[in-house]
């Protein structure tokens, strides 16, 4: 297999700033974008904090018709895709649109639009037999999450393989992994790969309230997301999107692109254990990391940074720490690990791609983003979590991992593109 995939464009819609530059400014400064929920009245909820995007779709170029048609998650995806395409320098349409694929992740799809329309058609839940006469024409597009991939395909004028990947909170890693598969197997030369979620609505908040997964730290929203901190008490919901242009490496080189990174290894495993529970030993995540390293032909000392799932729940951070030790051995103690969810919250399926975008930017800037709000040590989390302040470091290869409801465990390794490696 001689076809490799490189990342040549990045687009981001994230809490705390829209666009990859604003995103990197936030992450490298260690600022947090979590706050009191403003998108709906959360007063009756256990968790009332979230990381929201200050997003005006019209200001980012969407027409009023597009705004009406698209759920917020699709809007995020389209704005991120446009930025990524512009960044890559690819001229659209390409000569053979059938060679352009789309692989977008989302955990909950267009839930926000689906829920909003439900309240209208059901008269705020009074009618089980909802009233079809008030239905909006694009209601089906809200029920089918694949709409998000459709909108991105239209942006990219893609006529190759397209899919929405929905493996819960690993969707954003798995969608990129799927895109790499398409390039490696030869069915696409360019793939718009990324993820989007906009879960800040009552039904999604309520379902995490019900299992006490989200943080009830409502008195201090800016410091509510505390991955690896001894006082952590759940994740803070977020929203956003990241879309990347990935290309077959030689084709990218031939057109003179300046890739950010090469995707060196990807693997997924499932814990086959529990839909939401994690075993403390991190066994299956460790296996995913080992397989990804094997595919990348790298050993633990070659990994210079781990972008952790680091959701900030009691069980996750312990599970993950064990997985890093099991897969990297003693080298885990020498490898910086950080969770950007401390700053931008947990945007479910989107976060995996947002984290990969952070890794791409970290490689470009040779800076490790920090874990914000980390002040109190937890004896079960005893690695180097880069507390609060970003760190300059030589980064050759970085690992990003994710863990999701349903038992999904995924790992991706990005490396400096070959040219940069050769020059170093």
């Amino acid at each position: 297999m001689t076809r490799a995939a490189v990342i040549t464009g990045v687009g981001v819609v994230a809490p705390g700033g829209i666009g990859r530059d604003a995103y990197w400014n936030l992450l490298s400064a260690g600022r947090t974008a979590t706050r009191r929920i403003s998108l709906f009245d959360a007063s009756g909820f256990r968790s009332r904090v979230a990381a929201e995007c200050d997003f005006d779709p019209v200001a980012f170029g969407l027409s009023s018709r597009e705004v009406r048609r698209m759920d917020r998650a699709a809007q995020f995806a389209v704005v991120a895709a446009r930025e990524a395409i512009g960044d890559s320098g690819i001229e659209l349409p390409v000569s053979d649109p059938g060679r352009v694929g789309v692989s977008i992740g989302s955990a909950v799809g267009c839930t926000m639009g689906l829920e909003k329309e439900y309240t209208v058609l059901s008269d705020s839940g009074r009618a089980w037999l909802v009233d079809h006469r008030y239905s909006v024409p694009h209601l089906y597009g809200y029920m089918a999450p694949s709409t998000i991939a459709t909108e991105v395909a239209w942006q990219a004028r893609a006529e190759g393989p397209a899919a929405l990947v929905s493996t819960g909170c690993t969707s954003g890693l798995d969608a990129v992994g799927h895109g790499v598969q398409l390039i490696e197997e030869g069915t696409a030369d360019i793939v718009l790969a990324g993820a989007a979620d906009a879960p800040l609505s009552p039904i999604t908040s309520a379902c995490f309230d019900a299992i006490k997964a989200t943080s009830p730290n409502n008195d201090d929203p800016a410091h509510a997301s505390r991955p690896f901190d001894g006082r952590r008490d759940g994740f803070v919901l977020g929203e956003g999107a990241a879309v990347m242009v990935i290309e077959e490496a030689r084709a990218a080189q031939a057109r003179g692109a300046d890739p950010y990174a090469e995707i060196l290894g990807f693997a997924g495993r499932s814990n086959g254990f529990h839909m939401t529970g994690l075993k403390p030993d991190g066994r299956e995540m460790a296996e995913a990391i080992r397989v990804a390293m094997g595919r990348a032909r790298l050993a633990p000392p070659d990994i210079d940074y781990i972008n952790a799932h680091g959701s900030g729940t009691r069980q996750n951070d312990r599970h993950e720490t064990a997985a890093f030790k099991a897969s990297l051995g003693h080298h885990a103690y020498a490898t910086p690990v950080s969770s950007i969810k401390s700053m931008i919250g947990h945007s479910l399926g989107a976060i995996g791609s947002l984290e990969l975008a952070a890794c791409v930017l970290a490689l470009r800037h040779q800076v490790v983003p920090p874990t914000a709000n980390l002040h109190v040590a937890d004896p079960e989390c005893d690695l180097d979590y880069v507390p609060n302040i970003a760190r300059e470091r030589r980064l050759r290869n970085v690992l990003s991992v994710g863990s999701g409801f349903g038992g999904f465990q995924s790992a991706i390794i990005l490396g400096q593109p070959r040219a940069a490696r050769a020059a170093a």
Binding site: P97, S122, S135, P161, T167, H178, C207, R295
Partner: protein
């Protein structure tokens, strides 16, 4: 070296087990008998009173009792689309005679397609939320509604800890899941439990589907879904789907497992945005799938059509088929007139039906239509099944928005010029389970 572990050599992907839950029946045998008999599963909606809606006909799974088919604990924790998948998966694994606990856990995976997730569960929980308040929402909402619910539950239930996945590409999802299963066989997995189900026949699910304007509003079940005819006025929505066990030839051989047939080729594409002036991609996708299968059009014995049931899309599908195979160049069938369109379950079920047709040597007919419309110059198999001993079949699936996929499957020992491997010699032809 491959970043995703995909090897240059693609292993043969055999289908060693089939499980069906569909309006044509619960279980593969009942489904196949209904298909051959042209026994329709369409009828007036019974799960709620549809009187107030312009759409009143659907394909419901008859007599399905989740308490009989789903472990008691899981019934309230999962939506109906997952109930169906749990049932079909159990049948498929039993049919494949596989004990997952005896196989390496990381070499087995689950890949499912979902088009709309746990809609019925979600409507109930939104009702509680808006009528009673956030604290009334079920603790299971977070694991029942999302699109990954089925894959997660099946992975846990059967201890399959490999690279599991979930693909949403609407009606094309079933084929895309099968293709993903094949990719996994190329990257270290030996057995994949794969398919799709959907079950969005609750009031909100139906109303959302109605918004496309493509559902038939005829209230006569026999006249509601007549694809490729001048009477086509839309399609009937259905629920259900199929799960298959797809296994590398080596794994099936090691287990001494029999099989129905194998995946031969696949391709996918996406239609250009409406109004772009560019043609739909279906013809090109079919040609790529045939090329992937190493077959010329004359080596395809049967086409399972997407059969949207709306005049424009029927015509464009027929045109793509004639463009590749010539006018009336290949028998075309759409047994989905018996079930309605099952969304993520549709193409998974068509693939199951295709493999049954190949192993039984019979082309199932399209019950309902009397003759194709003039715009559809295809050899639509009508009236009764044709016992023509087909060896290969093409399955076509098109999803809302532009998703377009095509899969080629082959039966076994049907005279294909393929190298006979030791697995073929020792592995018996699979019959329909009793």
């Amino acid at each position: 070296m491959s970043a995703t572990g995909i090897r240059d050599e693609r292993p043969r992907a055999l289908v060693t087990g089939i499980g069906v839950v569909a309006p044509t029946g619960v279980g593969t045998r009942q489904h196949w008998e209904s298909v051959l008999a042209g026994k329709s599963g369409l009828g007036r909606i019974t799960r709620f009173d549809p009187s107030g809606y312009p759409v009143q006909v659907a394909g419901e799974v008859p007599g399905y009792d989740e308490a009989r088919h789903v472990p008691g604990r899981l019934v309230p924790q999962t939506d109906r689309f997952t109930h169906f998948a749990i049932t079909a998966a159990q049948e498929a694994l039993t049919d494949a005679r596989v004990a997952p606990s005896a196989l390496p856990e990381y070499e087995m995976a689950v890949v499912t397609a979902s088009s709309s997730g746990g809609t019925d569960f979600g409507q109930h929980e939104m009702e509680r939320l808006y009528q009673k308040g956030p604290s009334w929402v079920s603790a299971y909402q977070s694991i029942a509604w999302f699109y990954a619910a089925t894959t997660g539950q099946l992975s846990i239930r059967h201890g399959m800890r490999g690279p599991c996945g979930v693909l949403c590409s609407e009606q094309a999802g079933g084929l895309d899941a099968l293709a993903q299963a094949w990719r996994l066989l190329s990257s270290g997995s030996r057995l994949v439990l794969v398919g799709g189900t959907d079950a969005s026949l609750c009031p909100y699910g139906l109303v959302a589907q109605m918004a496309t304007g493509s559902l038939a509003t005829t209230d006569d079940p026999a006249r509601a879904y007549l694809p490729f005819t001048t009477a086509a006025r839309g399609f009937v929505p259905g629920e259900g789907g199929a799960l298959l066990v797809v296994e590398s030839a080596q794994s099936a051989h090691q287990r001494g497992a029999s099989h129905y047939g194998e995946l031969l080729g696949y391709a996918a594409g996406f239609d250009p945005r409406p109004g772009s002036g560019r043609p739909a991609v279906l013809g090109a996708v079919i040609r790529r799938a045939l090329s992937d299968a190493g077959l010329t059009p004359d080596r395809v014995d049967l086409v399972f059509a997407d059969a949207h049931g709306t005049p424009d899309r029927d015509a464009s599908e027929a045109q793509a088929i004639t463009e590749v195979f010539g006018p009336c160049g290949v028998p075309v069938t759409a047994p989905k007139t018996l079930t309605g369109r099952l969304y993520a379950g549709g193409a998974a079920l068509d693939t199951a039906t295709a493999l049954l047709a190949l192993s039984e040597g019979i082309v199932p007919h399209t019950a309902g239509p009397d003759r194709p419309a003039p715009a559809c110059d295809i050899d639509l198999v009508l009236g009764q099944p044709r016992p023509t001993r087909p060896r290969t079949a093409l399955i076509v699936a098109r999803g809302h928005g532009g998703f377009t996929s095509a899969l080629v499957v082959a039966g076994r020992h049907r005279g294909l010029d393929r190298g006979v491997t030791s697995a073929e010699v020792t592995s018996p032809v699979k019959g329909i389970p009793a």
